[in-house]
Amino acid sequence: MTPARQLPLNLVWRPALGREDFLVAPCNAAAVALVDAWPDWPAPAVCLHGPPGSGKSHLAQVLATRTGAKILVPGAWEDKDPLGLFEDGGVLVLEDLDEAPLPETPLFHLLNACRQARGGLLLTGSTPPARWPVALPDLRSRLAALPAERLGEPDDELMAMVLLKLFADRSADVDPGVISYLVARMERSFAAVRDLVERADALALSERRRITVPLARRALEARNPEAG
């Protein structure tokens, strides 16, 4: 008989999404510079692309905080008057455009309205806009011409910083050595960092332990927290 094991509540913290919380590294420096450059953008509309968790939404939040930009939710803007959305040079954000079928005509109108209203528009997606599956030839060429910056896969240093930030977002107490232990062994992706932090924190909470290197090892080994 395995001993009874207390399961933990999945305590979560609101992630810190300020500009100072964004971790700049070579793989995302160009994207950060682009967002920071507003209002001196090379074109009225620009694009950020990169894998899930690479920081697109965080940067969009940063832009929104700084400029008062509205983040448009799919389904809520397509019917609206595109010029009206920009009211006096406003800034808009449209996220994850390549995840669902593109609202091609409304997007085309939005791009035009953005130029006309002297507004700003930030688009995000996981792939470069030139590769988004678009049928409308005019829209396709417009997207291909957008200034776009990529947020790449993280290097070691950024992985370490992201680990630290995510643990800090959860106010988790991490022993020295844990971060470098994990960086040396884990999958190079932001999604993996998020999963791992969640698993390690859940283990620590469940067993009322600190996050030590042995605990981190178990978190790495346990793909599925329920299998542990």
């Binding site: 009874a4 094991r5 509540l9 305590l11 913290w13 329920e226």
Partner: protein, 372 residues
């Protein structure tokens, strides 16, 4: 400084303040109580540098002034004085001694300069509001058992007090969690508390507060900022530091979709849990709860002690299931239920269970199961 004060009044006030003073202090002045005599009486002040209690007591002041003297010694002396005595306290600064006279007793106590006494500056408070003592007690009692004692998770070492919206009604909410269970209690939002900062009140402050509430039936006035909380009772003022951290987004762990509803007599349930848990291992305290239509079965087994089963009547009409709980946690929650019946809403054996007092919608408890 020179004043005369009635022994009982002095004893009561010293009792309040000296409980804050640590028994062992490497910093001498922290063992002392600061006293200040004015025309309005005398105020007594003690601190452990995390919280401070100030008591105002009526006294006849002959010479206004202030000094500090050892709190526990002073308390011991006053406690042993005969009831009804008049106590004279005098300090002329010359030889650094506080002279205490009562009847034919005379004591000299070594003083330390009042300038060396810690200053807990309250700063500006952004919100001030009043609360009935019973309401504050309710918020504390129904949540404090869930406060974490893990020092590394210091941001969980207190009660999170904040303004919230409960189905459209503004409420003042208290939340505590240790990562295994969570307790949330609320009262209607007092006037003046709108937009207050969310604060985490440290465990020790909660304990001191609770003692003070017991001794007063009156309203409590709270003053808050993002750095301090102050609680004013009749003659007692408690000012406390706060935990400087972020409380988790607790709403996300309170399930809303649990669809299996179990109702059971709270007292019978608690007694049964208590009995069956006699068998569960000391360390895990695990018991198994089996629910089936119309009944609830509690069981526990341990390789050393044997096994136990008890069935009680319950209202349940969903699919049968087993779920494990830490019996201690279950009893903690059941102990807060004042009504006759308790309602558990369950999802499955690995998801949080919600516990409520059927007669009281103002408190919610969330309990994570154990894998048994």
């Amino acid at each position: 400084m020179k004043l005369t004060i009635e022994r009982t009044a002095l004893l009561k006030s010293l009792g309040h303040v000296q409980s804050v003073v640590e028994r062992r202090n490497t910093i001498p002045i922290l063992s002392n109580v600061r006293m200040e005599a004015t025309d309005r009486g005398v105020s007594l002040n003690a601190t452990d540098m995390d919280l401070e209690i100030v008591e105002s007591v009526a006294a006849q002041t002959a010479v206004p002034g202030s000094t500090t003297a050892p709190a526990h010694t002073l308390y011991d002396i006053v406690r042993k004085l005969p009831d009804g005595s008049q106590v004279e306290l005098a300090y002329d600064g010359g030889d650094g001694q506080l002279v205490l006279k009562a009847g034919r007793s005379r004591f000299s106590l070594a003083c330390l300069p009042v300038e060396d006494f810690p200053a807990m500056s309250a700063g500006a408070f952004s919100h001030t509001f009043s609360l009935a003592a019973a309401e504050l007690r309710g918020l504390i009692d129904r949540t404090r058992f869930a406060i974490s004692t893990e020092e590394t998770r210091y941001y969980l070492n207190g009660i999170f007090l904040h303004a919230a919206d409960s189905d459209g009604l503004p409420v003042l909410r208290a939340v505590a969690t240790d990562g295994h269970r969570l307790a949330r209690a609320e009262v209607p939002l007092p006037e003046g508390a709108k937009d207050m900062p969310g604060i985490i009140i440290p465990r020790k402050t909660v304990a001191e507060l609770r003692k003070l509430i017991d001794e007063t039936g009156m309203d409590v006035t709270l003053a808050l900022s993002d750095q301090k909380a102050r609680f004013d009772f009749d003659d007692t003022r408690l000012t406390s530091k706060l935990i400087d951290g972020t409380f988790p987004d607790y709403e996300r762990v309170i399930p809303t979709e649990n669809d299996k509803v179990l109702e059971v007599d709270c007292k019978l349930f608690a007694q049964a849990v208590d009995r069956v848990s006699a068998i569960s291992t000391e360390k895990s305290r695990a018991i198994k709860v089996t629910v089936d239509s119309g009944s609830l079965t509690l069981s526990a087994s341990s390789p050393d002690a044997g096994s136990a089963v008890e069935e009680i009547e319950a209202s349940y009409d969903s699919t049968a299931m087993d779920i494990g709980f830490n019996s201690r946690y279950l009893l903690d929650i059941l102990g807060q239920v004042e009504g006759d019946a308790v309602r558990l809403t369950l999802a499955d054996a690995a998801s949080p269970t919600v516990v409520r007092d059927v007669a009281d919608a103002s408190a919610v408890y969330v309990l994570m199961p154990m894998r048994v």
